[in-house]
């Protein structure tokens, strides 16, 4: 348990972002082993590893990898979701900027396993440094015969493109990302079971694998060392294997990305980040803005793991971990959270388009001192009208933080409404 630098081990070494430096530190051992196996064996290693999607949903990676047709009748595509937009999260940024070859190699392994011809890394438009880093790595890989035609002389062809976004949180949602990649407004599409899974019909009605940056970055280690080796890490938890990078920010002394073994207590993560700054710990949003907020008492009990976090009422999510001290107004924090979702709602479906706007307007009224006690019930009603009823997860993601804060910090909202102002401890 505790800090476990696997992906980030060489992140501080500029040579790691060069092909030579990467290979000197074990790079491409995973791909070489993968290419010597059957495709199904590669997928089995990923299954044994217990790898779950690192973007936020925690879905078992092998199920996706295994989901593309074994009999190929159309082009197969793979996508790397590098649209990191979940507030509080900046792990993919660091991975792309300092460990670009992990992603290139990981995607190539996945391409082999799924018979993909073409891959796209969809990078949000704001991440120019990250995109430049990936560009340099991809250029080097092509020159060295690690991308393109006849990779490492095995006959495998795989073309890897960079495609940037242009400012839209919703494009981090799988189906909206695919819409955007195909040249549309970033709106989500109908999902399983009402429509085929992307692994059957994704980009241009063709089988498509889509995974997060960090998920692909785990693949080289799984193939190089074996799925069983990987599954040994985090084995103290119910079903969370390997390491997870947590982006720690907020009122901490050493904000940054910290990679920990699953099973690590949340408070140990706080220690790694230098402890809370400027006052006593009041709250934590451990997995990105969408996950329910924890109070200090819950933080003490929280263990990092997909099931374990749910036991204290929150989630691992993206790993975007914001710690807040006693001088923070939770009302203000949730007001700003609601503003984010209102701004980013794509507008396609009524529950989210209208619901995010109304949550913001109500919280704005509360924050400006015009709140009424009935507003708390009203907010909870609006949350219920959105949660599980929106076309994509953005609606849920908008409702959970509001509903969560009203559960855990209800008294603070009540005090604010009664007096018209925050009662957070004065600095």
């Amino acid at each position: 348990m505790g800090e476990c630098k696997l992906l980030l081990r060489h992140s501080g070494d500029p040579a790691y972002a060069t092909l030579e430096g990467y290979q000197q530190r074990g790079g491409y051992e995973g791909l070489r082993k993968a290419l010597a196996m059957d495709r199904q064996q590669v997928i089995d290693e990923v299954k044994t590893s217990g790898l779950r999607g690192r973007g936020g949903a925690g879905f078992p990676a092998w199920i996706k990898w295994n989901g593309l047709p074994k009999q190929k009748t159309k082009p197969h595509y793979i996508i790397c979701n590098a649209d990191e937009g979940e507030p509080g999260t900046f792990k993919d940024k660091q991975l792309m900027e300092t460990c670009p070859f992990l992603i290139v190699e990981g995607m190539t392994i996945a391409a082999y396993a799924t018979q993909a011809d073409v891959g796209y890394i969809y990078i949000r438009g704001e991440f120019v440094d990250a995109a430049r880093s990936m560009r340099r790595a991809i250029d080097e890989a092509y020159r060295a015969g690690l991308l393109g035609k006849n990779i490492l002389g095995t006959g495998m062809d795989f073309d890897l493109h960079i495609h940037t976004g242009a400012g839209s949180y919703e494009c981090g949602e799988e189906s909206a990302l695919m819409s955007s990649l195909m040249g549309e407004r970033g709106m989500p599409r109908l999902k399983f079971p009402h429509a085929p899974l992307p692994t059957i019909s994704g980009l241009w009605d063709s089988p498509t694998l889509i995974n997060n940056v960090e998920t692909y970055a785990c693949a080289p280690f799984i193939l190089a060392n074996g799925g069983a080796w990987y599954a040994n890490i985090g084995a103290s938890t119910k079903n969370s294997r390997g390491t997870k990078i947590f982006s720690v920010s907020g009122h901490v002394n050493k904000p940054g990305n910290y990679e920990v073994e699953f099973g690590t207590p949340l408070m140990e993560l706080l220690d790694l980040a230098g402890g809370v700054k400027g006052g006593a710990l009041k709250a934590c949003v451990p997995g990105g803005s969408s996950v329910p907020i924890l109070n200090a008492e819950a933080c003490q009990k929280a263990i990092i793991g997909y099931e374990e976090m749910m036991e204290v009422g929150s989630m691992v999510g993206s790993g975007g971990c914001m710690f807040l001290n006693e001088h923070t107004s939770i009302v203000d924090f949730i007001w700003r959270t609601s503003m984010f979702y209102k701004e980013e709602s794509c507008g396609k479906c009524t529950p989210c388009r209208e619901g995010t706007r109304w949550m913001f307007l109500i919280l704005d009224r509360v924050r400006s001192g015009q709140g009424r006690m009935e507003d708390l019930q009203l907010l909870e009603d609006v949350c219920r009208q959105i949660d599980g009823r929106s076309f994509c997860g953005l609606g849920d993601a908008a409702a959970w933080p509001v509903a969560g804060a009203l559960k855990v910090f209800r008294h603070e909202f009540e005090d604010f409404i009664r007096s018209g102002r925050s009662h957070a401890a004065k600095v």
């Binding site: 120019v128 995109a131 493109h161 495609h163 242009a166 400012g167 241009w204």
Partner: protein, 202 residues
């Protein structure tokens, strides 16, 4: 249904034309080129996407201006509303930045530039925007200018940044568009575009 039978005025440079030709090979159809083509257009049209730019992209990709306009207006980084200033200063005011002093940075910038969020300085040098999460929260409060992320921001850094930008030879808005176009292109594609640009000068 009416379709314009006139070719719009085409302003793409030979370099831009070569870049777009390369991009077309990345996707199975022309529609998928819309987003990267809009980045090319934003660069070619000086950091802005006026109706003429939308029409040119539509023409070159055999799509309709209405469709391209619909796509462009969805994304916050495509400047379809107004021509921005030479440099766009974007201050993140989202969660972590909000609890780490973003409002103070906004106030300082508004005071120093004499404008409010959303406005452009009268001399056309700076446009100031508040933006949603830039996902660099360990450096809160964060400011983005073109392809540069800055943080943790304070008054001294603001002064240094504004000073440097005033003397910057290229518009960061235009440069950002160019940098984004370049990351889409493979080595040989960038070389082809360079040659296309050179052939004009020859």
């Amino acid at each position: 249904m009416s379709q314009s039978s006139e070719t719009p005025t085409l302003r793409f440079s030979p370099k831009a034309v070569a870049e777009l030709e390369s991009l077309k090979t990345h996707y199975p159809n022309l529609k998928a080129c819309i987003l990267p083509a809009l980045w090319i257009a934003q660069r070619e049209y000086g950091g802005y996407l006026p109706p003429e730019a939308i029409a040119e992209v539509a023409f070159r990709l055999k799509r309709t201006p209405a469709e391209v306009q619909g796509v462009a207006t969805f994304y916050s980084m495509y400047n379809t509303e107004h021509k921005p200033g030479r440099h766009m200063i974007e201050v993140c005011t989202c969660l972590t930045c909000n609890v780490c002093g973003a409002s103070g940075i906004v106030s300082l910038l508004e005071r120093k530039l004499g404008i409010k969020l959303g406005e452009t300085t009268p001399d056309g040098m700076f446009t100031l925007h508040g933006v949603e999460c830039l996902n660099a929260c360990d450096r809160a409060p964060v400011v983005q200018v073109g392809d540069e992320y800055h943080g943790p921001m304070d008054e001294a850094k603001i002064d240094a940044l504004l000073e440097r930008l005033r003397n910057e030879s290229q518009s960061k808005v235009v440069q950002l568009a160019d940098e984004i176009v370049q990351v889409h292109l493979k080595e040989d594609e960038r070389e082809k575009a360079r040659q296309a640009a050179e052939s004009v000068r020859g």
